[in-house]
């Protein structure tokens, strides 16, 4: 039995190996390049709070929206075997609703912000329902189904605030977007931690994880075991909707305004990439939310590293692409199989001994 538990552990590590190695390599690379790259300083920000600052903080902080979206994207990928490419547009809608509600109340208070967030959340869940219905009920490929909202989402966001890009200013919003007075850690980072914990609890108190994986791996068998696959797939899109509204709210709060054209532009591709780097199968099935979150940080760390190397913002995308090609190829089943074969060559004598022992 001891042998068995050990095996599980190594199998669990297997999925996270690539993203963890990627992060380590990036850290080492940066430390060699500039030993002070990861130094964390304490400083006073504009509001006079004591806060943490430094490249590491800005990486973790900057990746928050991406990490939030990657959580939801992982679920949709696992259950449906496809990706939602409308998350950026949907976040723009959620952000617009958030601002619209704040603009329509006389004064911004904690209660109204909560109300605004809940409204954004409901709207994002409704759009998730729309995408989910196309995928789960009508069996349209996720990427095609979500292409609709991808195309028209930012127009809808434009209508919500009558074409304007209104600003909202409130200490509560800056509390969400940057720092809460007295807490030196950026709030978006705390939100990611809270959301990740929330999903952890969801998996603990419901059978969602098992059901989602079953539906994603073998829908036909899942159905014959009484699982309502349609519901599970729809639910994954609705949960992604929740993530979308959280990401939209963070984005709006950071800037203090809603720009429906630029809010979280192109984030969907990074979110899908985060899921892939996290070692999750984009064809659905087994998943690890943690992998996707690490994947999001890998992407952000890569971007910041390149900026720190004074690569111009136009060139960054090309360099990013090179690294990502490497990561994806290394994580591919072909390379993995080769690698495992190679490792097995060294392990064979040991393995034989252990199976003999088991018998």
């Amino acid at each position: 039995m001891k042998n068995g538990t050990k095996k599980t552990f190594s199998a669990g590590l297997g999925q996270l190996t690539i993203p963890i190695i990627a992060i380590c390599l990036l850290v080492i690379f940066n430390l060699i390049r500039d030993p002070g790259f990861f130094s964390i300083g304490i400083m006073h920000n504009n509001d006079g709070n004591i806060v943490l600052a430094g490249n590491l903080i800005s990486i973790i902080n900057g990746a928050s929206e991406l990490a939030v979206l990657a959580i939801g994207m992982t679920l949709v990928t696992a259950a449906c075997g496809g990706q939602d490419i409308s998350v950026g547009a949907a976040a723009a809608i959620a952000g617009s609703v958030f601002v619209k509600v704040l603009k329509s109340v006389p004064s911004i208070s904690g209660g109204t912000v909560l109300l605004a967030f809940l409204s954004a959340c409901v709207v994002a869940m409704l759009f998730g329902c729309f995408n989910g219905t196309l995928v789960a009920v009508f069996h349209i490929q996720p990427m095609i189904a979500t292409l609709i909202l991808y195309t028209c989402g930012r127009s809808i966001a434009y209508w919500i605030n009558g074409g304007a890009t209104p600003t909202v200013d409130s200490p509560i919003l800056s509390g969400i977007g940057s720092f809460i007075p007295g807490i030196p850690i950026p709030t978006p980072v705390l939100i990611v931690i809270a959301l990740a914990l929330l999903f952890k609890l969801l998996f603990h108190f419901t059978s969602l994880e098992l059901l989602t994986q079953s539906v994603g791996i073998n829908g036909s068998a899942a159905r014959l075991n009484g699982i309502n696959a349609t519901f599970i797939r729809l639910l994954s899109f609705i949960l992604l909707g929740v993530c979308v509204s959280v990401a939209g709210t963070i984005g709006v709060s950071r800037l203090g305004l809603i720009n429906h054209e630029t809010l979280l532009l192109d984030v969907e591709m990074d979110a899908i990439l985060a899921v892939a780097i996290g070692g999750n199968n984009l064809g659905g099935g087994k998943f690890k939310i943690g992998g996707s979150i690490i994947g999001a940080y890998v992407i952000q760390m890569l971007t910041i590293t390149l900026y720190a190397m004074k690569v111009s913002s136009t060139d960054v995308k090309a360099y990013k692409a090179i690294v990502i090609i490497l990561l994806v190829v290394i994580g591919s089943p072909v390379v993995k199989a080769r690698f495992e074969k190679w490792v097995a060559q060294f392990r064979t004598p040991k393995l034989k001994a252990s199976t003999k022992g088991a018998e």
Partner: protein, 499 residues
């Protein structure tokens, strides 16, 4: 008679790694005859066909077409020798027109005269009496017509030998008759047709001759009129009839008349005709019949696996509604599906997760089985059923077939069902495990669980079941119990009672 000979296959051998798929098989096809190729699954029918069509290369033997020795290395070679195949699944392009489908890949020039092509297509369609227009999209035709277009295409390629591989399995009665008319037409034009099917009655309707294979060996070639259906079944299964009757020592099995657990009247699904069925508490019954006779579809209807279209169901005398699997599960019914890979295992999930799946679904979304509980369940059933796995966390897909089957059995046993439906639980697994599963079935029945047991191996069912429901061509044609439970009687009923 030799002159009449169109195709001869002599002493054909074919080896696959570890198996002799065909051993010294002869097959002769004459001009203008419909020749049925019969045998159970794995008898070597499709291997023989694939050698003839160039998909496989034979390891020994020779093939002659029109008296000339030929070598067939590829499907293209086969076509050049006038051998065409129409497969069970339509292999044409539904989004092209009928004419385009008939000529695709056969025109030499890039410049196609559509009008000529359509005229030619209409001519052929007319000659063969196929109800389709050349300009019609193929996808808009019925399946039967699509199949006929495929045949027309083959015929127009000057085919001498036409192979029809299970052409009728997705057609209804009327369409089957249309196809048979076309086959008889082609026969007049001296085409030799090899007809592979598992519908016995269709064999007797159209074929002139029957060749039977069993376990990769030739059993014999017979004139259809000389071979009664019962004998055909006996030859396919491999037991001579008299031999069987003497073998079958009648064994008294207890058929206690306990309370009825499940009762369905005129139950039907999208895949079945309405049927009546009931099972007692602690009874083991079986559905038997050849493949495609509707036995799996019937039990799927009971479990709600296919869309249920009508009928009344009572459980313990109470009327209930079962339209989807979860309904059946809530009423204490478990179902082990025929296709383990497609409908059973969740390959990448662990043995543990696979075992608890059905119970978890029944417990509901908000009552997850805790890790420690699920580990205890998994360990218990790994021990009880003697599942050979490296650990409970091993992905179930990496286990052997027999152990995968045990995992699925464990999954249903864990739900403590009152009625367990096992569709081909012993297919493709080793003899030892087969016996274990049979024993388990009998033990469950002793404990008061009703079991429906389906197997392609009649002996296995005779050993376990106290009542057999016999199906042929989607209808229940008989119910055997007590003294009638012997192989000869089963085969007689499968073949049709007239013999």
């Amino acid at each position: 008679m030799q002159e009449n000979c169109l195709l001869q296959m002599r002493h054909i051998d074919k080896r696959f790694p570890g198996v002799l798929a065909l051993s010294n098989v002869d097959f002769t096809l004459r001009k203008g005859e419909i020749h049925a190729l019969m045998g159970e699954n794995g008898a070597g029918k499709s291997t023989l066909i694939k050698i003839l069509t160039g998909v496989y290369q034979m390891d020994g033997g020779e093939i002659t077409v029109d008296g000339e020795k030929v070598v067939i290395r590829s499907p293209q070679d086969a076509q050049n020798h006038g051998i065409s195949t129409v497969y069970q699944e339509i292999t044409l392009c539904p989004n092209l027109t009928v004419a385009e489908n008939m000529f695709i890949g056969r025109d030499d020039s890039l410049w196609v005269k559509h009008k000529d092509r359509e005229k030619r297509a209409d001519e052929i369609l007319g000659k063969l009496g196929i109800p389709a227009r050349s300009t019609q999209q193929l996808g808009s035709c019925s399946l039967a017509v699509q199949q006929m277009v495929a045949i027309a295409r083959a015929v127009d390629m000057q085919c001498k030998v036409l192979i029809l591989d299970e052409p009728t399995s997705s057609l209804d009665d009327k369409e089957v008759n249309m196809l048979f008319d076309l086959m008889r037409d082609l026969k007049k034009q001296e085409v030799g047709i090899i007809f592979v099917t598992h519908f016995l009655e269709q064999v007797y309707e159209v074929s002139d001759r029957i060749t039977v294979l069993r376990n990769g060996e030739l059993v014999g070639e017979y004139l259809t009129e000389d071979l009664p259906q019962v004998e055909l079944v006996a030859k396919m299964i491999g037991k001579e009839l008299d031999e069987l009757s003497s073998l079958s020592e009648f064994e008294e099995k207890k058929t206690e008349n306990k309370e009825v657990f499940y009762e369905a009247s005129s139950l039907s699904s999208s895949e079945t005709v309405p049927f009546d069925f009931s099972i007692h508490k602690g009874e083991v019954n079986g559905f038997t019949g050849l493949l495609g006779s509707g036995r799996s579809e019937s039990v799927r209807a009971i479990f709600g696996a296919d869309k249920v279209t009508g009928g009344a169901v009572k459980i313990k005398g109470e009327p209930v509604k079962i339209t989807k699997p979860i309904d059946a599960m809530r009423h204490g019914i478990g179902y082990l599906a025929e296709d383990r890979k497609r409908d059973g295992i969740i390959a990448e999930l662990s043995v543990r997760e696979n075992i608890i799946l059905a119970l978890q679904v029944m417990n509901g979304f908000f009552k997850p089985i805790s890790r420690s509980e699920s580990e205890a369940f998994a360990d218990e059933y790994i021990k009880v059923l003697n599942i050979k796995t490296a650990s409970r966390e091993t992905p179930v897909g990496s286990l052997s077939g027999g152990n995968q089957q045990k995992v699925i059995l464990a999954r249903w046993l864990l739900t403590h069902p009152d009625y367990l439906i096992l569709d081909e639980p012993t297919r493709g697994i080793d003899v030892g495990t087969k016996l274990e599963i049979q024993k388990l079935v009998l033990k469950l029945a002793e404990d008061g669980v009703s079991v429906t047991f389906i197997s392609s191996e009649v002996e296995e069912m005779l050993r376990t079941c106290s009542r057999l429901i016999v199906m042929r061509d989607r209808h229940i044609v008989g119910e055997l119990k007590g003294q009638d439970l012997n192989q000869a009687q089963v085969m007689k009923t499968i073949a049709g009672g007239e013999a």
